[in-house]
Amino acid sequence: MRSTSRRDFRQYGVALRAMLIFTVVLGMLYPLSVTVVGQVALPAQANGSLVGADGNPATAADAVGSSLIGQSVVDSDGAPLPQWFQPRPSAAGDGYDAAASSGSNWGPENADLIAAIGERRAQIAEFEGVTEAEIPADALTASASGLDPAISPAYALLQVPRIAEARGLAESDVRALVESRITGRDLGYLGAESVNVLELNLAVAAL
């Protein structure tokens, strides 16, 4: 009995020493090494792929956002601004709150979700001046992160006439810009085609 408890005690001593050493190696040295590699070799990515108003990589001081993080383009009342391409609906905070990533987690039969989809469909149809049937699914649904940086090519092209009108540009120019900005599938078959909304908006502002 006594030898058992002594063995137990010894195991706890070994366990504690092992855990403390692992904490230093795995919890401090390892992340520190990766941080050094990131900051030296890949600083733009390591710091969040920030972009400036000119569409080029930027530092924190003159960034207008991150090319990986979607953002709301609405007025102070929450109404969509007609001169910008609109992103998907978002469940992160009040919408694209990058400090509170989240999906809606509404289930397929949830009455709130069904109602929200109907309202969004009517609102987008009116805003864009299109029929309700033309609106693609991504425009009506919230993403998993609430920070989805992209929309489908279909939703981007749907917004072209309204953007052209609001900015006084030729529709064909805006359409050509969108088409040039479609990100293909990785390797040609991974994921889905998409358009990065912030990068597209910066490009359309420079037209």
């Binding site: 001593g13 692992f22 795995l26 590699v37 990131g38 956002g65 609405v74 039969e109 998993a144 992209a150």
Partner: protein
């Protein structure tokens, strides 16, 4: 079109895993059977006070596992409680007691269930010295237990099963850490962040302010996936663009999470001296994986249900850059392993599509399962399959020359009873205790009706199987769920480990009986079919009634 592209994506995955199978499996066999210690390991053993030449009996091996895990729980608990005074904590306060307990247990048991939203709860100090560390060590503990069982099949008349401290250390230093360093850098190149900047406020196009988070994410992401842990740095987990920026990083993560579990059968075959035994286990795992993946992808592309029909596609809770096929592949990989990371929100899947992750976990996470836990779970089912076959033909069952007698079959039977008991009891108690039910229905459940039951069932399935994914609408940061899920995670992790190590001991103690014409060959397609049948039937019989009340009812209404 979508279907063909989805198939190409799967073929790519199969090809990469096939290329990894032999070298990674052989390397792991080498790590866990080598008599040679690296210089750095010898130094480490001296510091912690163990001898690399000493072998442990199964109770001693188990005491090592339990002591190490208990220290882990206490340490992670203490770190969270001390968050207010730790540096790099972003000003977040100490984590409350109940949540600290749940989170400590969750990360030590390789579950990584998160009752909290990390974005607004966890500072960098807790993430690094608490959670990142457990991501490594909990995974290494799982592999250690699995290799102890594997070696036991090869041992003869042995009273010992190996040394836990050696297995733990080698798994971390020779496998998990080096691969994680490389994986973290690959993820960094893909856009995953790695900094200690805190929040960066930017003025957006519309003149509003957006707080862009920072954090040492890539280093944690690598081991979160490679160690089949799954706890996100951010609330949105691998759906967050800073954790998983593109379709190729998503596939890279899927390869990482499947690499060890799908290669361990090779390690098994190698150690027991018959590679075809490994192929039989691999074929079983791969078959279940492909069937499950096909089902969920068809359900989601089909987009049944009122909301997906109204929207014109099941895109609620899915990211544009992934689309449907890359989301369902991730969902399948994460729940057929013990990972639990998500790149889409399972709660918003179609009813039958959302049932598949649950079903995957209910299979016992054996196709291919978590790092280590998948292989030992599948070997337990193989023992049961051999026993069933023995009953059918009236012979004493054997597996790899070891007799499957009353003691072995008792241990295996107890093993397969543990998680169903925890899942069904936990779910039932959530609705049977009046005060708890009021709290569960009033506070925790997010989607009303049948889907609400599914949320609770998913939570206990995830916790007891140490997965960690969720129907995340459920508010789990309540006294009931923090406690009940914490207990389910603890028992769901350590009771099976006790039984596996006891089984390892009784196998190691036996001599090897020579195969005769009456021996069931366990390396042929016939056995693969039997093993698949046993796995599916056990799961179906256990869980069909409760699935009928939740996702099946919702999907068929």
């Amino acid at each position: 079109m979508d279907g063909w592209l989805a198939l190409l994506q799967v073929l790519t995955l199969v090809l990469v895993l096939a290329v990894l199978y032999r070298p990674l499996g052989d390397y792991m066999a080498h790590i866990y059977t080598s008599r040679h210690d690296l210089a750095i390991e010898r130094g480490f053993y001296r510091l912690i006070g163990v001898s690399s030449r000493s072998e442990q009996t199964w109770p001693a091996y188990l005491r090592g596992v339990l002591a190490f895990s208990a220290v882990g729980v206490l340490l992670v608990y203490a770190i969270q409680r001390a968050q207010a005074v730790l540096p790099y904590s972003l000003g977040f306060p100490a984590i409350p007691e109940g949540l600290s307990f749940n989170t400590a247990v969750s990360f030590v048991t390789n579950t990584n269930w998160q009752s909290y939203s990390p974005d607004v709860t966890m500072g960098y100090a807790v993430q690094l010295i608490g959670l990142t560390v457990q991501n490594f060590v909990s995974s290494a503990v799982g592999i250690a237990v699995a290799v102890a069982l594997v070696r036991a099949f090869a041992l003869r008349k042995s009273g010992t099963i190996g040394n836990f401290w050696i297995d733990l250390t080698r798994g971390i230093l020779r496998l998990l850490l080096p691969v994680s360093v490389i994986a973290a850098i690959v993820l960094l190149a893909g856009g995953v962040i790695q900094n200690v900047n805190g929040f960066t406020d930017v003025t957006t196009l519309s003149g509003a302010t957006q707080s862009i988070p920072g954090g040492p994410v890539a280093s944690q992401e690598a081991i979160k996936i490679f160690g089949t842990n799954g706890g996100g740095f951010f609330n949105a987990n691998s759906a967050h663009p800073f954790e998983n920026p593109s379709a190729w990083t998503s596939l890279f993560q899927i390869v990482l999470m499947l690499a060890i579990p799908f290669s361990l059968p090779r390690t098994f075959g190698r150690v027991v001296g018959d590679n075809r035994q490994g192929y039989a286990i691999l074929a079983t795992m791969a078959t279940l994986f492909v069937v499950s993946l096909t089902a969920i992808t068809m359900f989601e592309l089909g987009g049944a249900g009122t909301a997906p029909q109204a929207a014109g596609g099941a895109m609620e809770g899915k990211e544009t850059r992934f689309g449907i096929a890359a989301s369902t592949l991730y969902a399948t990989a994460t729940t057929l392993t013990s990972t639990g990371a998500v790149n889409s929100m399972h709660d918003s899947y179609t009813a039958l599509g959302g049932m598949m992750p649950m079903l995957n976990m209910m299979l016992g996470e054996v196709a291919p399962g978590g790092t280590g836990s998948g292989l030992y779970g599948m070997l337990i089912l193989a023992v049961i399959a051999v026993f069933v076959a023995g009953l059918l033909v009236g012979r004493t069952p054997e597996y790899l020359g070891k007799k499957i007698g009353p003691r072995e079959i008792k241990l295996a039977s107890l093993y397969i009873l543990v998680t169903p008991t925890l899942v069904l009891a936990g779910t039932a108690l959530s609705f049977a205790i009046p005060a708890v039910r009021a709290d569960v229905e009033g506070t925790s459940i997010w989607n009303p009706g049948l889907h609400g039951l599914s949320e609770v069932l998913y939570a206990f399935t995830s916790a007891a199987n140490n997965n960690g994914s969720a129907f995340a609408g459920l508010t789990a940061n309540t006294p009931w769920f923090n406690t009940a899920l914490g207990v389910a995670m603890l028992l769901g992790r350590f009771l099976p480990i006790v039984l596996v190590l006891a089984l390892a001991s009784s196998l190691a103690a036996q001599d090897r009986v020579p195969a005769t014409v009456g021996t069931l060959p366990t390396n042929r397609p016939q056995f693969v079919g039997l093993l698949i049948g046993v796995t599916v039937i056990i799961t179906a019989l256990t869980y069909f009634p409760v699935l009928a009340l939740g996702p099946l009812a919702e999907g068929l209404q």
